[in-house]
């Protein structure tokens, strides 16, 4: 009978499609005492390299997964245990874990559950994690989808219900974006809240999604408990118009990939898999038209065409803004437009995809907003 | 009494229809005889196969067609093109390989086409056309346009699998198609009495469960009536028909052919059977057209052909850049 003081750290499931992960680097050594939340290992999920924060407090007794090896989600990658647990028991536990892995008998790790609701005659898809009174809705940006919250959603879902929504024209939602305007998209989010029977929710929006949730708060303040705006569009005027236009027009990986680099501070995070996934999305009938409309909504020549800042000013919904200092799509200078209306958290070493490059910072911001809401 | 009757007679041609038919037949003849001369001067490149002598067939058939209808032709296709209203000057320019040609000089005599007119192209492959016509007939049937597909082919093609397969498919699918076998007696230099085992191509129709008729291909009125029946039948959903036109071509298989394989039959045909000669005699006897009218048409046609040749000779060649264009719609 194994010692219950031995704790397993397993390969996390970051996003729906993640089946396996590869440890690219261990950030702690065997025997080291690790505090909960400390960086434990870098993991390559094919889509992106992410950092696993230690779920446990204590001594890292044994590293089970070697660097470079392909490990299925749910498989043991490390063991934590107090120093007084004998090595023999640890060895036995490792052997057992390896056996279990070899036999392929891993319990299916519950990822988010995906569902769709009908809003204004168009199906909207969303992924849900957790279960709780408090409801958080995550709204992605232009060209993104519900999976872009892969490093954020799981943690936020502890004791809460967290929905990650696919906006119209994105992900698995209908590709019809109507006039593609901010109001249209805001109506979709409100419609979504109605459809899932949520009177009030904490809204989190990235980029275009940031502008959308701001518009929701302005249109229906009583439905919104708090706002977390991650590199939101509609603040200031600076924008990399080329990124938006090429993203919409690119038909091949060679055209698209260079643009994707602009999303991150560390360009290596723009993997080929990310490009291929986006191409698969862009090839769907109706997506070209949707993106074209959204570009028209977002851009006026080389400057931003929407104004979310004044919308935000018109509400008193508690708000926290997060911005990557190395954002090349919506430069951080735009944050000035937030003024005194909300707390702004600047994140070093992060680009436009703050929630991927520094998920912890985004989670903390959400927690803060939720606390105030 | 007889006059009230005559108005209801099938295939009674009004003077303007005769006028048009004669002009078209004359245009084909003049076009071919001129190409014959010009080819001898060495100005015209490549292979050229002339239709002279067979005019009644193309015109007798195409007089019943409009732009809904499609035809597929053969390597001896000039007559079919003119009968289906392809622009004569563009045709001449094409034969000279000029950029103003029907195909911008990239097709030549054997590939003149104008799909906007339902002319699916002369065809360098013996037996290439009939399957295509099954397709255009199928399209007409699917779209319910009432269109008919007509495949012209020669006695040589009558022995090709593609032709026999197409006759079968057209019968199986009950397509609005008409197969016109132009039996001019020779596949290149080989007599059809030797190469066609059934001797009469029309006999083969019975094997496909469709009507087959033999028509004097030198007689416009015979061709016109037979084609009219077949085309009407096809339009009304009656299915395909095989018509065999029997006649002789006036020139060799291709220009430069010494025709050692045949004797004086051409001279005899020209004197006694020629479709234009007989047409003139008969329409003047019935008083439907006057000799003056016919001569005026001849003169106008001669002028048109002169212009066509002059313009073709003066027209620019294709640009070097055209070598690689129009291989694909997009690549």
């Amino acid at each position: 009978m194994a010692d219950e003081r031995i704790k397993h750290v397993t390969m996390p499931k970051w996003g729906l499609s993640m089946k396996t992960g590869r440890i690219t680097e261990w950030l702690a050594e065997e025997g080291e005492t690790v505090s909960q939340g400390a960086d434990l290992a870098d993991i390559d999920t094919d889509k992106i390299v992410g950092t696993l924060e230690s779920p446990e407090e204590g001594v890292l007794r044994r590293i089970v997964a070697d660097v470079g090896a392909e490990i299925p989600v749910g498989a043991t990658i490390a063991l934590f245990a107090p120093p007084d647990v004998p090595d023999a028991e640890i060895d036995a536990e490792v052997a057992a874990a390896r056996e279990k892995l070899a036999s392929g008998l891993l319990e299916e790790v519950a990822g988010p559950t995906v569902a769709t609701v009908e809003v204004d005659g168009r199906p909207l898809a969303y992924a849900t994690l957790g279960d709780g009174e408090e409801v958080v809705v995550l709204v992605h940006g232009y060209g993104g989808d519900k999976n872009s919250w892969l490093f954020v959603q799981e943690k936020l879902a502890e004791g809460r219900t967290v929905h990650a929504l696919d906006l119209p024209g994105h992900g698995e939602s209908a590709k019809d974006v109507g006039d593609g305007g901010l109001d249209e998209l805001a109506r979709a989010v409100i419609g979504f809240l109605d459809a899932v029977g949520v009177p009030r929710a904490h809204l989190v929006g990235h980029s275009l999604g940031g502008a959308v949730v701001t518009a929701v708060a302005a249109a229906a303040p009583d439905r919104v408990r708090s706002l977390t705006l991650v590199a939101p569009a509609g603040f200031g005027t600076e924008v990399d118009g080329e990124y938006l236009r090429v993203f919409a027009s690119a038909a091949s990986r060679r055209e698209l990939k260079p643009q994707l680099g602009k999303l991150f501070a560390d360009e290596n995070l723009a993997t080929r898999q990310l490009a291929d996934d986006l191409l698969r999305y862009k090839r769907l009938d109706g997506v070209d038209a949707a993106l074209d409309k959204l570009v028209k909504t977002l851009l006026d020549g080389e400057t931003q065409a929407i104004d979310a800042a004044s919308l935000l000013g018109s509400t008193s919904v508690p708000t926290v803004v997060v911005w990557g200092r190395e954002d090349r799509v919506l430069p951080v200078a735009n944050a000035a437009a937030v003024g005194e209306r909300a707390e702004i958290r600047y994140v070093d070493g992060a680009g436009h995809m703050v929630h991927m490059e520094n998920p912890a910072a985004v989670r903390d911001a959400v927690e803060e907003a939720v606390r105030r809401g | 009494m007889t006059d009230t009757l005559s108005t209801s007679v099938a295939y009674e041609l009004k003077p303007e229809a005769l006028h048009d038919a004669y002009r078209t037949m004359r245009t084909i003849r003049a076009f071919e005889e001129r190409v014959h001369e010009e080819f001898a001067t060495g100005d015209i490149p490549g292979f050229v196969h002339l239709y002279a002598g067979e005019e009644a067939s193309a015109v007798g058939v195409c007089s019943h067609l409009d732009n809904r209808d499609t035809i597929a032709s053969t390597h001896r296709g000039h007559g079919h093109c003119i009968a289906k209203r392809v622009d004569v000057k563009a045709m001449m320019a094409e034969i000279y390989g000029k950029s103003t040609g029907s195909c911008h000089g990239k097709g030549g005599s054997m590939h003149i086409a104008d799909l906007s007119k339902g002319m699916l192209g002369a065809n360098g492959i013996v037996g290439g056309g009939p399957p295509l016509i099954c397709g255009t007939a199928l399209a007409a049937k699917q779209k319910g346009t009432g269109g008919v597909g007509v495949a012209f082919f020669g006695d040589g093609a009558s022995n090709q699998g593609t032709t026999l397969e197409s006759l079968n498919l057209a019968a199986v699918w009950n397509l609005p198609a008409v197969f016109v076998a132009e039996n001019n007696g020779y596949a290149e230099a080989t007599s059809s009495t030797w190469s066609v085992a059934s001797d009469n191509i029309a006999d083969r129709a019975a094997g496909f469960g469709m009507p087959g008729v033999i028509v004097d291909g030198f007689d416009f009125f015979a061709a016109y009536e037979a084609a009219g029946e077949a085309i009407t039948r096809a339009r009304e959903g009656g299915g395909p028909t095989l018509i065999e036109m029997k006649f002789t071509r006036y020139f060799g298989h291709f220009e430069g052919d010494q025709q050692t394989y045949r004797a004086d039959e051409v001279a005899r045909a020209r004197e006694t059977l020629d479709c234009l000669l007989r047409f003139r005699g008969r329409v003047t006897e019935t008083g439907q057209l006057s000799l003056e009218t016919l001569d005026r048409i001849d003169a106008e046609v001669a002028e048109l052909i002169d212009e066509a040749v002059d313009e073709a000779k003066r027209a620019p060649k294709p640009r070097a850049a055209d070598l690689t264009t129009d291989v694909y719609v997009a690549y």
């Binding site: - | 290439g128 399209a139 397969e165 291989v327």
Partner: protein, 337 residues
């Protein structure tokens, strides 16, 4: 929403969705109805391997059964295409091109050029290729290089269900004649395919796997063979970049050249016979345009210059397998000047 379906289902779905979307799309082929004109209608085969199953009753009058008469009905599909339809004809086995090739390469492929750019011939000819089913010499060939050789034709060779649906949808919407080559041994393979319609543009290769040591180009069924080899080689510390051109005409040489520029080594895996095939074509292009980048001679893994044998042990030898790819990769990586 993506779900896992088979290569066969992906093709069937592409046909059904395009027929739904565009009434000009018609389907014709042998045994499409299955005993047309007989009670057999009621259990339409959907072609000899059931790829079009269900369409016959779902689209009355738009799925035509044909006699075994390839010249006539392939030609008819081509003719119908010139007359405004978008026909998809099924040439049961690619080996049967021999009885209808004139209509394909002298007619369909030439119209646009020889008619001076005035013809549009949006016909798709779906056909089965490939060895592995013990079907012997006349039902097993990989003849896509023959079509690839002909200007005016486009040639797609899908390697997976996702590719099959996206490339076929593109083929049907494409305004040029397309030869769509389906590997008969792939019909029951499965993969994630979106329910929604999508198109994969022609001439855009798919980098199936990243790797810095060797570029491995593989087409059709050979893609999975190359991936198996790449997995084994990864164990030995050799990282292969596996590229699936997806279409042989047009061919995405840029992606291949880019990859070779970084790896300096090329192995081409092609199920067709070795003379004037895709392997020789790609090798020549790379030798010509990326010579300086090459650090080792190019390796080609192809079938032998023989007909496809019947006996199982011989056919297994005939078809390129992962071991031969592994050997080829090892020879280019171990090559020293």
């Amino acid at each position: 929403m993506a779900r896992t379906i088979s290569y066969r289902e992906a093709i069937n779905e592409a046909l059904a969705q395009e027929m739904e979307r565009d009434e000009r799309v018609i389907v014709m082929g042998e045994d499409n109805a299955g005993g047309a004109g007989s009670p057999g209608d009621e259990d339409a085969w959907g072609g000899v391997l059931g790829v079009t199953k269900g369409l016959y009753h779902r689209f009355p009058g738009r799925v035509l059964d044909t006699p075994i008469s390839e010249s006539a009905f392939i030609g008819a599909a081509i003719g119908a295409a010139t007359a405004g339809m978008r026909p998809v004809a099924e040439l049961m086995f690619i080996d049967f091109m021999g009885v209808c090739f004139d209509q394909i390469f002298n007619q369909a492929a030439k119209f646009r050029y020889m008619f001076g750019g005035k013809a549009v011939t949006p016909v798709v000819i779906r056909t089965m290729y490939g060895a592995g089913l013990r079907a012997a010499a006349q039902h097993s060939q990989a003849l896509y290089p023959v079509f690839t050789h002909i200007p005016g034709l486009k040639v797609a060779v899908p390697s997976s269900p996702y590719e099959a649906k996206g490339l076929l949808t593109q083929a049907i919407r494409d305004d040029d004649p397309v030869i769509f080559c389906e590997h008969k041994a792939l019909y029951d393979t499965t993969g994630e395919v979106p329910e929604e319609q999508y198109v994969i543009p022609f001439g855009e290769a798919n980098v199936v796997r990243d790797g810095g040591d060797v570029t491995v180009v593989a087409i059709g069924r050979m893609v999975s063979v190359a991936l198996a080899a790449a997995d084994e080689l990864a164990g030995a510390g050799i990282q292969c970049e596996v590229i699936d051109p997806r279409t042989t005409s047009p061919l995405d040489t840029d992606t291949i050249l880019e990859s070779v520029e970084s790896t300096g080594r090329l192995v081409v895996v092609d199920e067709s016979t070795p003379r004037c095939n895709l392997a020789t074509d790609i090798s020549a292009t790379v030798a010509q345009q990326a010579f300086r980048a090459l650090r080792a001679p190019i390796e080609m893994v192809t079938a032998p210059h023989t007909p496809v044998p019947f006996a199982g042990n011989l056919e297994d030898l005939y078809i390129p397998d992962a071991q031969r790819v592994v050997n080829a990769v090892k020879s280019v990586t171990s090559w020293e000047r």
